[in-house]
């Protein structure tokens, strides 16, 4: 994909792309259990390729999630286009896939769209750049990361967690450097597999966001997938024909047995079925195009509901929903019978005095004093099922826990002052007065 972008930006192309790209590469070696030497080697190879490409690049280690601020999990309104004068795009890199850094056969030095849009894009050698790649992550962070991933019981949950953390990190990098769009290199085959996997994980409500062309859940940064029409085979041929250099790094599930995780299962199944019924992948892809980003019964008339803490989709748990009421209750019930976590040192709602001033006084003390239950109730169905495989929430990066605390505090307070708020509509104001 990077190569395609390169081609598109070059002076010779018929329709020139008009954006200023940068490349982000995430080093996930710690999560995959790679030794530091292997990581350094892979990093060196990547840097070589990135330098030939010529775009500004940022290499970020996954350990930096421990430094992220909680604002990563908030959804900002979209900024009007043109505040930066340009429409910048950051190109996301793909350590999870073994391809694409395209090469152009003609080998022209990529002449970027100079002068089209102004702007000095931040350079990696910029001393003010807090994420300078020359500073390797500290050993403590690496250890914290490996502890987090070791504490997850199943490979499926590990992969989902990795994806969530990766997304947050990329988002953060994009926001810090002022990029408004993130492009990922997901091909048609990968997206079809992702669709079926999401279905099996209980994320049926969010398929359009997970596998569609553009994903605007994060507000100001939009994730787009320009490669979604190309199958893996096409990409492989392209790379081969145009001598595209690529780096292979082992991912979380490399060499894992087929039954180890849902992702592996689905991948193996789809590829096997594709042999027998050659139209399988394209059929699933076409079906994914028919999905829309709306709640099923069109109940989006009301104000947007709360969003999931990890994946930032509107929550799809509906307690009034009769059909999976049992299913939705079971994971909640189970999570509350987990071994009791130590009581929080600073409970969000002290059940002591100060009823008037306290955040949750009166007859309804906040019942979510258990921090685990507090986090779980802010997650969507799919994320809740994943959390079941995480016995303790402590190893999670602090920004997630902080944001969870903040949200539940806010919900608590809102409940308290609900009756005093002046609502916009008349009927609500009347019921509020009761």
């Amino acid at each position: 994909m990077v190569w395609q972008v390169l081609e598109g930006l070059s002076r010779e192309s018929a329709k020139r792309l008009r954006f200023v790209p940068g490349i982000v590469c995430i080093d996930e070696g710690a999560a995959c259990g790679l030794s530091p030497e292997a990581r350094a080697k892979a990093l060196a190879e990547m840097k070589l390729i990135l330098q030939t490409v010529g775009f500004p690049w940022h290499v970020v280690a996954l350990e930096e999630v421990f430094d992220l601020p909680p604002s990563v999990l908030r959804c900002f309104a979209q900024e009007p286009v043109g505040t930066e004068g340009a429409y910048k795009a950051a190109v996301d890199s793909f350590l999870q896939q073994q391809h694409v850094l395209g090469a152009e056969g003609a080998g022209d030095s990529p002449s970027l769209a100079q002068g089209e849009e102004q702007l000095s894009w931040p350079c990696t050698q910029d001393p003010q750049n807090p994420q300078s790649p020359d500073r390797p992550p500290t050993a403590a962070q690496t250890e914290a990361l490996s502890r987090l991933f070791d504490s997850v019981k199943t490979l499926t949950a590990k992969e989902e967690l990795l994806q969530a953390l990766r997304t947050h990190l990329i988002l953060h990098v994009a926001r810090t450097h002022g990029y408004s769009k993130v492009m990922t290199g997901d091909s048609c085959t990968r997206l079809a597999i992702k669709l079926m996997t999401s279905l099996a994980l209980g994320r049926g409500a969010f398929l359009a966001w997970d596998t569609g062309f553009s994903d605007e859940r994060h507000g100001d940064v939009v994730v787009v997938r320009p490669m979604r029409e190309h199958t893996l085979k096409e990409v492989a041929f392209y790379n081969h024909l145009f001598a595209v250099p690529s780096v292979f790094t082992p991912a979380l599930d490399t060499k894992a047995p087929e039954k180890a995780s849902i992702h592996r299962l689905m991948e193996a199944f789809m590829l096997r079925l594709q042999d027998q019924f050659p139209s399988t992948v394209s059929t699933v892809y076409r079906t994914s195009e028919k999905l829309v980003k709306a709640p099923r019964d069109g109940c989006a008339a009301g104000p947007p509901g709360p969003r999931c803490l990890l994946c930032m989709c509107a929550l799809d748990i509906d307690t009034a929903d009769s059909a999976t009421a049992f299913g939705a209750q079971t994971p909640l019930h189970l999570s509350q019978t987990q071994p009791p976590t130590p009581p929080p040192t600073a409970p969000c709602c002290s059940a002591g005095m100060g009823r008037v001033q306290g955040c949750c006084g009166g007859a309804r003390p906040c019942e979510r004093e258990d921090p685990r239950a507090r986090v779980i109730e802010q997650l969507c169905y799919g994320c809740r099922v994943n959390m079941k495989d995480l016995p303790s929430l402590d190893p999670l990066p602090p920004y997630i826990l902080a944001e969870a605390r903040l949200r539940s505090q806010r919900a608590c307070i809102e409940q308290q002052i609900q009756e005093y708020l002046v609502e916009d509509s008349d009927d609500e104001a009347q019921t509020g007065e009761s």
Partner: protein, 347 residues
């Protein structure tokens, strides 16, 4: 190691662990819990109002046997009365044995039983005849496609014969999960848009249908049948190995092994699928030949039979419906209703 105590009554020794939650229960408590859950499903979804005459689609297999038994237990509380309807598709060596099991059950529960046969309803076409007709073209026989459509029509007919107001079938959670997977793999957006709920409310004169066992996993159904010592017929249909559903079933088994809650997650996903309005099936009208519910001029059953009768069995399957005498989707005026349902014109 001593066996654990039942988690509910704390008196009896636990005899099983529920697959979903892992709780240890004794046989009686498990059956009670199962029945309570089915009751909750029916009541919360308002599926079977009091006074309903419910036709139970009985095939002799474990799902319909358990369904009939549970509904019988719950009938006084729900205020419904039951009738058994069995469908004879004419599959030699399979259906006769299953029907024998249904007859035994009907005698045991003292419920009225009606058997409707394809041969009578559909102008002599049994499933064996259909299989012979579609065989030999180099492609798969698509038996399940025919059987599914015709069986639903037959059930509807049987239900009308006994004067029922609702139809219930024994589909369990595993069936729903397989259906979703299968529809996605085959790209059947129309079925995806239609399915996923608790059954259809019965538009356009069709009887309302529902699936009370929809949230029970297959393992629990089998466990219930075991503890209540129900007698059922457990062999697989003769045509099942060549069905596409087999792939979906295999995938589901693998998924369940990797993550036990996969079945429920799939059902949850299926309910919340949001498909584009263009992909949804058009509003249902009436079939121009038999008057049944149809999205196009001819209902699928009539279309399939038409193809069979003309010697071109695949006429109505897939996208090639151009050979049929359809006038296109029904417009505002109601197409006139044809006479009795079994009068399918033969060439």
């Amino acid at each position: 190691m001593p066996a654990p105590q039942c988690a509910t009554c704390h008196k009896a020794r636990a005899a099983l662990r529920r697959p979903r939650s892992g709780r240890a229960l004794c046989g009686a408590c498990f059956c009670a819990a199962f029945e309570a859950e089915v009751l909750h499903t029916v009541v919360a979804g308002r599926l079977l109002p009091p006074g309903a005459v419910v036709a139970v689609g009985a095939s002799g297999g474990k799902d319909s046997t358990v369904l009939a038994h549970v509904l019988q237990v719950l009938a006084p509380r729900l205020g419904i009365s039951l009738r058994l309807v069995a469908v004879d598709e004419g599959i030699g060596g399979y259906r006769d044995a299953a029907l024998a099991a249904v007859r035994r059950q009907a005698a045991r529960w003292e419920l009225p039983l009606t058997v409707v046969a394809y041969a009578d309803l559909f102008g002599g076409w049994t499933m064996d005849a259909v299989a012979r007709s579609t065989a030999g073209s180099g492609r798969s026989r698509a038996c399940c496609t025919f059987c599914g459509v015709l069986r639903r029509r037959a059930l509807e007919e049987g239900a009308r014969l006994v004067g029922a107001t609702h139809i219930v079938t024994g589909h369990n959670a595993d069936d729903m999960a397989e259906t979703v997977l299968m529809n996605f793999l085959r790209g059947d957006a129309a079925r995806l848009a239609r399915g996923g709920g608790l059954g259809s409310p019965g538009e356009g004169g069709a009887l309302p249908r529902c699936r009370p066992l929809q949230l029970a996993s297959q393992k629990e159904v089998v466990l219930y049948a075991h503890f209540r010592r129900l007698d059922y017929f457990s062999e697989e249909c003769v045509y099942a190995p060549e069905a596409f559903r087999g792939h979906a079933r295999h995938l589901l088994k693998l998924l369940e092994a990797a993550r036990p809650s996969a079945v429920l997650d799939l059902v949850h996903s299926a309910e919340r699928l949001a498909l584009a309005p263009a992909a949804r099936p058009p509003a249902p009208g009436a079939c121009s030949r038999c008057g049944a519910l149809a999205s196009r001029a001819l209902c699928q059953a009539c279309a399939l039979l038409d193809g069979l009768n003309r010697g071109r069995p695949r006429l109505a399957i897939g996208k090639g419906r151009r050979g049929l005498d359809e006038a296109g989707p029904p417009r505002d005026g109601e197409p006139e209703r044809a006479p009795a349902p079994d009068a399918v014109p033969a060439f």
